[in-house]
């Protein structure tokens, strides 16, 4: 390289206060703006949705954390725990207000902009109240398609942001991460996993706009507002409570009591997945379930991964007695039957309000995190032990680096890949576990009427062979798809981080030139 580059590197490194990203962008703003402006637009059109999700999560975190503190401190001093509860009410109140406010803001792909609920004015008359007078099915399909397309594009654009950073603003022209990303982007099966994950995340985030109706109107309070429909018997437009309409739209496994997938009921309501045994819309139910499932499994696997990462690094770094203690603890945890623990904890907290956080999901997440970490720990302990043997760890010790920093800087980057692989694969187990609990019912799992996938399967199990097959089968297929997708993602990451398996990353021959 030329003399001048060398000089400017020295200047860059030594004259400036901080080698900030900001200065680098200021020097060459074009690529950044070409990426950032569309990104802002993408966020802006759905901002209230994102803000709502964020407030909802904050809300759950605040309640969850204070709840745990409350339960722990309540044992010691009831006065302190009262203070905690007061603080919690205050914070949650603010969050709920904020949440209510953003809820009222318009979004681009909402049911207000592209409505699908309407009624016919005559036997074959035009549709009233739907988007451009389209049939509800088409209006709904249009909205759902737009939302999925928007979500996929936004995900791509976020990735694109990384590419822009890499090509224009990163100091290093190559990093080991580049290889991993390249490997992953050549991995069809892994990309399928990412696609499935984005699909389900979209359902979790945009669930309320995706359903042909809302959880609120169709499931939670179906007797608060009437809807219009064309009454074929009287030939007039009548009004009915959704609850009453549901009563007459049940899928009960016989020819006259069934509303199958992709069909209308007698009230002009379109059901993409058909109805449940109680006449509620299965698709809306599934979308509502997606959010709670994704949140609970994310919390559970996140917690488990965090514990596993910390413990595996402790095991490897300190080995000996520390390792043995963790091993014993892990074996102890594994030996507790998970179902028994769930039943016990559910019973103990049945009347404590913490059992109601996230409709019981918070407690489930904690239990799943608690029972899952030993498996993750076992899986990443090996790689952690391997890294601990590397000489750079010894080198770091030789200049007196703190153990904490050594673990974070010199060990964690090498186990995070394995952690991702095993975490994405174990998430499938958690999702199935959650569904299984809801399937069992009896106070286990997410408390009704909040939608839970397992409950849909359980409702339909008597009708599996008959016209109402959809009630069990479709939710089952969705779970299978998600679990398969997560496994695919895990496979993809594993092949991407393991150069032996990837094959192409091998042979990074010295390209730096000079010296040596």
């Amino acid at each position: 390289m030329s003399e001048t580059t060398s000089k400017s590197i020295r200047e860059d490194l030594t004259q400036r206060d901080e080698l900030s990203l900001y200065t680098r962008i200021a020097n060459n703003p074009r690529p950044f703006f070409k990426w950032a402006v569309p990104m802002l637009v993408l966020i802006a059109v759905e901002f209230p949705t994102y803000a709502g999700v964020a407030f909802g999560m904050l809300d759950a975190v605040v309640i969850g954390v204070t709840g745990l503190l409350d339960a722990a401190i309540g044992l010691v001093s009831s006065g302190l725990s009262q203070t905690i509860r007061d603080a919690q009410y205050a914070v949650v109140g603010v969050l709920r207000d904020a949440g209510g406010f953003v809820d009222g803001l318009p979004t681009l792909f909402s049911r207000e902009v592209i409505p699908n609920q309407g009624y016919q004015t005559g036997p074959n008359g035009p549709w009233e109240g739907t988007f451009l007078g389209l049939e509800p099915a088409y209006a709904w399909a249009l909205r759902a398609t737009l939302i999925f397309a928007y979500a996929l594009f936004t995900a791509y654009w976020v990735f694109r942001g990384w590419l822009v950073y890499r090509d224009h603003y990163r100091e290093a022209d190559w990093t080991p991460t580049d290889d991993i990303v390249d490997n992953l982007s050549n991995h069809q099966w892994g990309k399928f996993g990412i696609f499935v994950l984005i699909l389900f995340l979209t359902m979790a985030v945009f669930g309320s706009a995706l359903g042909p109706t809302t959880v609120e109107q169709n499931i939670q309070s179906p007797y608060s507002e009437r809807i219009n429909y064309f009454n074929e018997d009287t030939g007039e437009v009548d009004q009915v409570f959704p609850g009453d309409a549901n009563f007459n739209s049940k899928s009960k496994g016989s020819a006259e009591f069934n509303v199958g997938p992709m069909s209308y009921d007698d009230y002009g309501r379109f059901h993409p997945f058909g109805t449940l045994t109680n006449g509620r819309d299965l698709f809306t139910f599934m979308m509502g379930g997606a959010r709670i499932t994704m949140i609970v499994s994310a919390l559970a696997i996140g917690g488990a991964a965090l514990i596993a990462a910390v413990f595996s690094m402790f095991s490897a770094y300190y080995s000996g007695r520390v390792d043995l203690t963790i091993l014993t603890t892990a074996d102890g945890v594994v030996s507790i039957p998970r179902l028994l623990l769930l039943i016990l904890v559910s019973a103990v907290f049945a009347n404590h309000w913490i059992g109601n956080v996230l409709n019981g999901g918070f407690l489930l997440a904690i239990i799943f995190a608690f029972t899952t970490w030993p498996f993750l720990w076992r899986a990443v302990r090996g790689p952690a032990l391997q890294v601990a043997q590397e000489e750079w760890i010894l080198a770091a010790k030789s200049y007196g680096q703190q153990p904490r920093t050594i673990m974070r800087k010199h060990m964690f980057p090498y186990i995070v890949g394995y952690l991702l692989v095993y975490a994405s694969m174990s998430t499938g187990g958690i999702i199935i576990g959650l569904a299984a609990l809801s399937f069992l019912g009896n106070g286990l799992g997410i408390s009704p009427p909040t939608p839970a996938w397992g409950r849909a399967i359980s409702m339909g199990q008597d009708y599996v062979s008959g016209p109402s097959w959809h009630i069990s089968l479709l939710p089952g297929l969705m779970i299978v798809l998600l679990v398969t997708g997560l496994n695919a993602l895990g496979d993809g990451i594993r092949d991407a981080i393991d150069p032996e398996a990837g094959g192409s990353a091998e042979g990074e021959e010295a390209a730096a030139g000079g010296g040596g």
Binding site: I9, L13, W174, Y399, Q402, G516
Partner: protein
């Protein structure tokens, strides 16, 4: 020749001593009720390193030289003994004192693949010691990294590269730059070139020499290869099984080694001169396990100059060789784990695993006329071992055939006026000198 000492002193008294190691021991394991005997990686070592010099530490792999280097830097806690650095006993340091001291003593590692974290850029790697010690300001740290890069022959633009993008030699340069970051006085070079191509080795060695000159560094240069050491070291210590066997000025030690072990090592270096008549001494067997080191001289199981017991001095070389090899076989058997079945069979007198011993004996003594006085003992030992008691056989042989080399630890003898020390009984007045013994014994072959 007769001057003995428990520990070698530095001869040139004018030179200032930087590192002073006294009776250093590092054992692994061996604690706890069920643990076996400890691994005596470093088993009582004494030496000094003068400021500005390069001391070579040579030995086969597994002799404890790397452990010694790491213990010097307090990366391992010594089991016993003291390490004085510039007047302070560093074995007693801890916490922030230890961290502060670490600035003075750094290490260059053997494997450039493993010594650099390849998820960090070269700049971050070299800067890390500075960050860990909160050295000056951020800009000054970066400036220092750039200076270090050029000091080790790398360029500014390498700052943002990753180790993956470098060759082995360049990676080793990065490792050296990192070791120099905190301006240490003392560097432990743990086989710094043995993982590199021969063509690159010379460059790295001369870089190390230049840096020593420039920054007034003191080196402990660890190597398994004597020839590398010859170019760079002022003095050399030869290590075997946790003990220093010989210590002295490099050139002298190469020209005229005193200790039987050093002699055998040097005889193994290929010589370009065909007229050189020095015989190559091939050592039998492998070094014993550091878990089961001989009681006396560590080299006693393989030494070509080993002193024989009085009663057996008249035996033929071949017979004596056979006896030593047979003892080696029995030692090996005694280290074996017999297992539960083995013990059970022994209990009922049906132990058969060592039935091959007779064959081994006839192999060892093939074509050799074994006198009756020896034969009875060998047969008795075989008998013990075959019954399942190899340790008893081993002890029996020890009682019968052990000499002063097996039983007593030698002393350090000063073997020349230039502060050369050798750890061997043969330097005592009552025994024959090493050279004639070796040439007599090897010429018989």
């Amino acid at each position: 020749m007769s001057k003995t000492t428990s520990r070698p002193q530095s001869a040139a008294q004018g030179d200032e001593v930087l590192v002073d190691v006294t009776d250093l021991k590092k054992f692994y394991g061996g604690e706890g009720f069920f643990a076996g005997p400890p691994v005596k990686a470093v088993n009582g070592v004494d030496f000094t390193i003068k400021r500005g010099e390069t001391l070579g530490l040579v030995g086969e792999s597994g002799c404890g030289k790397s452990t010694l280097g790491r213990t010097l830097l307090q990366l391992e806690t010594p089991t016993e003994g003291s390490i004085t650095f510039d007047g302070t006993d560093v074995t007693t340091l801890s916490g922030s004192d230890l961290k502060e001291w670490r600035r003075n003593a750094q290490m260059v590692f053997q494997d450039p693949e493993s010594s650099l974290n390849d998820r960090m850029t070269v700049g971050e790697i070299i800067r890390e010691p500075l960050d860990a010690h909160d050295w000056k300001t951020k800009q000054e740290r970066r400036e220092r990294v750039l200076d270090l890069l050029s000091a080790v022959g790398l360029r500014d633009e390498h700052y943002f590269r990753y180790p993956h993008q470098f060759s082995g030699g360049q990676r080793q340069r990065v490792g050296i730059a990192r070791a120099l970051a905190l301006e240490p006085e003392f560097l432990v070079l743990d086989e710094p070139v043995s993982a590199l191509d021969v063509s690159v080795q010379a460059k790295i060695i001369s870089l190390l020499e230049d840096l020593q000159e420039e920054f007034n560094l003191t080196y402990l240069f660890i190597a398994h290869d004597l020839s590398v050491v010859r170019h760079i070291c002022d003095r050399v210590a030869v290590m075997y099984l946790g003990k220093i066997m010989e210590l002295g000025e490099t050139e002298e030690l190469f020209q005229d080694p005193s200790n039987p072990y050093t002699k055998s090592l040097i005889s193994a270096i290929p010589r370009p001169d065909p007229t050189d008549t020095t015989r190559r001494i091939t050592l039998p067997g492998t070094p014993p396990s550091p878990r089961d080191a001989p009681e006396g001289c560590p080299f006693a199981t393989r030494c070509p100059a080993k002193i024989r017991p009085e009663e057996y001095t008249h035996l033929d070389e071949d017979v004596w060789d056979g006896i030593e090899r047979f003892r080696e076989v029995i030692r090996e058997r005694s280290r074996m784990d017999l297992g539960v079945t083995g013990l059970a069979r022994r209990g009922v007198g049906r132990f058969s695993r060592f039935d091959d011993l007779e064959e081994a004996v006839s192999d060892l003594f093939e074509g050799v006329d074994v006198p009756e006085e020896v034969r009875v003992h060998i047969e008795q030992a075989v008998e013990y071992a075959k019954k399942g008691y190899p340790s008893k056989a081993r002890e029996y042989l020890y009682e019968e055939f052990s000499s002063v080399c097996d039983r007593e630890k030698p002393k350090f003898y000063e073997t020349s006026g230039t502060a050369r020390y050798s750890y061997c009984h043969r330097h005592a007045n009552e025994y024959e000198d090493v050279d004639p013994v070796i040439s007599r014994r090897t010429s018989d072959e």
